[in-house]
């Protein structure tokens, strides 16, 4: 069905450029030479950190860890190879040691070291390309849990203060990733549950709205709405809104309760009170006139 086409690119392609691997796990890194002549490739371990201002991974050069030390943390089945034109090679990458607060990965350098190729005449600059394959551990550790915050705000569309007079509530979900080295893949839902906890009166799936990952020190907000379609007399009382967010396999729950006085009831009470007040006033006026 899918007419396979050649990738619409030239140069060198690496896949996967991003992978979820647990400590001591490994993966196959495929390096493809899309060009028309052979290329030399070298693999090195590398460290990455997350930007504090935007979802972005930054390549860093660690001053504390030497390259040879880094290479002990991520190893390769072969670290230097020549790729013929149009060919792919697979290198097994093994993630052997964690560097706290950082992401590890492989740096694929195309053309490697050009010193021998420069002829030493005039002023020359050798140009190299590098591609990063980043390893991301998904499993949350115990220490990660307190750094992750999930919030739920419930605001009636028609209400006085926190009292819901209508049948709709606006929901605002916020997920904050306070970790430095975990990328969160969120999914979840919000359930509206009746006062006795037996009846689900509505639900909102958050998964499609939370499309995408949450990077370290980043947060994500999602707005949604739940409508309570029950008759107004069944809406009197409390409704619970239960938010279930799943992050990298761990579930985080948040619950909010909203008190409902449907506007039909509120209006009825208002009318009766009005009648009593007006009646009392009129009664007093008549009484005064008689006197």
């Amino acid at each position: 069905m899918d007419t396979k086409r050649l990738p619409n690119s030239t140069g060198v392609t690496i896949t996967p450029a991003f992978t979820n691997v647990a400590l001591n796990g490994s993966y196959d890194l495929v390096i493809t030479n899309n060009g028309k002549s052979p290329v030399k490739v070298r693999l090195d371990a590398a460290l990455f950190t997350a930007s504090k201002s935007e979802p972005q991974l930054i390549l860093i050069k660690s001053t504390d860890v030497t390259q040879s030390e880094l290479n002990k943390r991520v190893s390769f089945s072969q670290s230097e190879l020549t790729l013929e034109a149009g060919k792919s090679e697979t290198v097994k990458v093994t993630y052997k040691q964690q560097t706290s607060g950082f992401f590890s990965g492989a740096l694929v350098t195309v053309n490697g070291d050009l010193i021998t190729q420069l002829n030493g005449k005039d002023q020359q600059v050798g140009i190299n390309g590098q591609l990063a394959s980043v390893i991301v551990e998904t499993k949350l550790q115990i220490g990660d849990i307190p750094k992750i915050i999930t919030r739920l705000q419930v605001q009636p569309v028609l209400g006085i203060g926190d009292v819901n007079l209508g049948s709709e509530v606006n929901l605002m979900t916020e997920i904050l990733n306070g970790t430095e080295d975990k990328i969160l893949t969120p999914s979840g839902r919000i359930l509206g549950v009746s006062n006795n906890g037996q009846l689900v009166i509505g639900q909102q799936t958050l998964t499609d709205k939370l499309d995408g990952k949450i990077y370290p020190l980043q947060s994500k907000e999602v707005n949604s709405t739940i409508s309570d379609t029950r008759p107004f007399w069944q809406r009197i009382g409390n409704t619970q809104y239960l938010q279930e967010v799943q992050l990298n396999g761990e579930k985080f729950y948040t619950q909010r309760t909203v008190f409902n006085i449907p506007w039909e009831i509120a209006l009825g009470v208002l009318v009766i009170v009005g009648i009593i007040v007006v009646g009392t006033l009129l009664s007093k006026v008549f009484n005064q006139r008689r006197k």
């Binding site: 069905m1 007419t3 619409n8 896949t15 002023q123 190299n128």
Partner: protein, 423 residues
């Protein structure tokens, strides 16, 4: 006294009105087994077997029934329909078909996309890694027919159903969670009466949350009215599509300023030629970078060098790389650096400069190279930007200046462009 009576009457009317508003009408339920109730009576519970017109004695109505005649139904001409007689099967909808299922196509693909560059124009190069595009052929079923899309992973055999949020799920499908119209699935339905508001998101990719590097089979079934659900469409002999992996591609070309389409082979060397004192030298050739990714969040290309300047090949001496206008050099003698020149892409992106690191105003103003990586180009998702990019290409000028204080001799440096994706 009269006023009191009027007041009492008004009060009574208001209370009656309030009660009328708040009390809903009573509903009378009759069980199917019952032929009579307090409100109605069924006189004759028998229904004729049909096969023609059953006229009433009064002539007030005709009960028309018919056994279907497949040959007179233009929709029922292939082996892809099913007709089952008798209640509750009735006549079924036609079995729909999958028109296309794609992840990595380019221009001229079978699916119709908002862009002209196929799946790679929607997901970046080399294609979609956790998304795909399918189109369902309604096979002339009515516009309100609902369709259920099933995916089967090739190796594991796991069955998934497309949900109304366009993710896939293994849960047992329900009408509310999984069945959609052609408009909801394809993002467009131009038929009269469809009432379809086109959705370019679903015209772009309408399967989300797929596993990278996985082959899938796709099938679809139709439901038009109760009890009329078709079988799934035929299973293809080979998987209908395979998802790509998160990918990065980088190509370097060395060519002059007219080389926007140039393709050159390694080794990649920029020759600055002979540097003349106090004259800014721009290398005759530019560095051209082809950058492609299917990263939905974007990528950053960093640049670093070996010496933080041009280094003397014999003896010691360096022309420092400085963030400066080489026409008015400051700091250490001479200077050397990069200045971005052009940026383009076929689709998505766009390719952007990273701040003003190397995007300079002056003709000979350059950004400095350091041994630590500095961002030079990026794609991101700010505003209407898309992280993925299809055929991104950018060029960079290399500029240098020597002054009398710089030692004579040959200088060299090694520049590294490093592409990092944010997936």
């Amino acid at each position: 006294m009269i006023s009191r009576k009027i007041f009492s009457t008004i009060s009574l009317v208001v209370i009656v009105l309030f009660l009328a508003v708040t009390i809903t009408p009573l509903t009378v339920f009759a069980q199917a087994q019952e032929l009579t109730s307090t409100n109605f009576k069924i006189l004759d519970p028998n229904i004729d077997s049909g096969g023609g017109a059953g006229d009433s004695a009064s002539g007030d109505y005709s009960l028309l029934t018919s056994l279907a005649n497949p040959t007179s139904d233009s929709r029922a001409t292939s082996g892809s329909y099913a007709y089952t007689s008798g209640f509750p099967a009735g006549i079924m909808a036609n079995v729909p078909k999958i028109i296309c299922a794609e992840t990595d196509t380019i221009a001229g693909s079978n699916c119709t996309y908002p862009n002209a560059n196929g799946a790679q124009g929607e997901c970046g190069t080399p294609g979609c890694y956790d998304r795909a595009k399918i189109e369902v052929d309604h096979q002339n079923n009515p516009v309100d027919t609902l369709y259920l899309v099933k995916l089967t992973a090739d190796v594991t055999g796991t069955e998934y159903y497309l949900t109304t949020s366009h993710t896939i799920d293994t849960a047992t499908p329900t009408v509310a969670n999984n069945y959609m119209t052609i408009c909801d699935i394809n993002g467009i339905d131009g038929r009269t009466g469809s009432g379809c508001t086109p959705n370019t998101d679903w015209q772009s990719t309408n399967l989300r949350g797929l596993v990278p590097g996985t082959a899938y089979f796709v099938q679809v079934r139709a439901l038009s009215g109760n009890f009329t659900e078709t079988n799934f469409s035929d299973l293809s002999a080979l998987p209908d599509f395979t998802t790509e992996y998160p990918s990065l591609s980088l190509d370097i070309d060395i060519a002059d300023s007219s080389g926007s389409a140039a393709e050159t082979n390694p080794e990649y060397v920029i020759d600055l030629g002979v540097l003349v004192s106090d004259i800014v030298q721009t290398a005759p050739n530019r560095i051209w970078l082809d950058m492609n990714t299917n990263s939905q969040t974007g990528m950053t290309t960093y640049v670093s060098d070996t010496y933080a300047g041009l280094n003397l090949t014999t003896g010691s001496g360096i022309i420092d790389s400085e963030d400066e206008d080489l026409d008015a050099p400051s700091g250490s003698p001479g200077g050397y650096g990069l200045k971005t020149a052009t940026k383009s892409q076929t689709a998505l992106g766009p390719i952007l400069d990273v701040g003003t690191n190397f995007q300079k105003v002056g003709a000979n103003e350059v950004g400095n190279l350091t041994t630590s990586p500095k961002g030079i180009f990026q794609t991101n998702t700010a505003g209407a930007n898309q992280g993925m990019v299809n055929n991104g290409r950018a060029s960079i000028d290399v500029k240098a200046l020597v002054q009398a204080a710089n030692k004579a001799g040959n200088y060299q440096d090694f520049i590294y462009f490093t592409m990092v994706g944010t997936f």
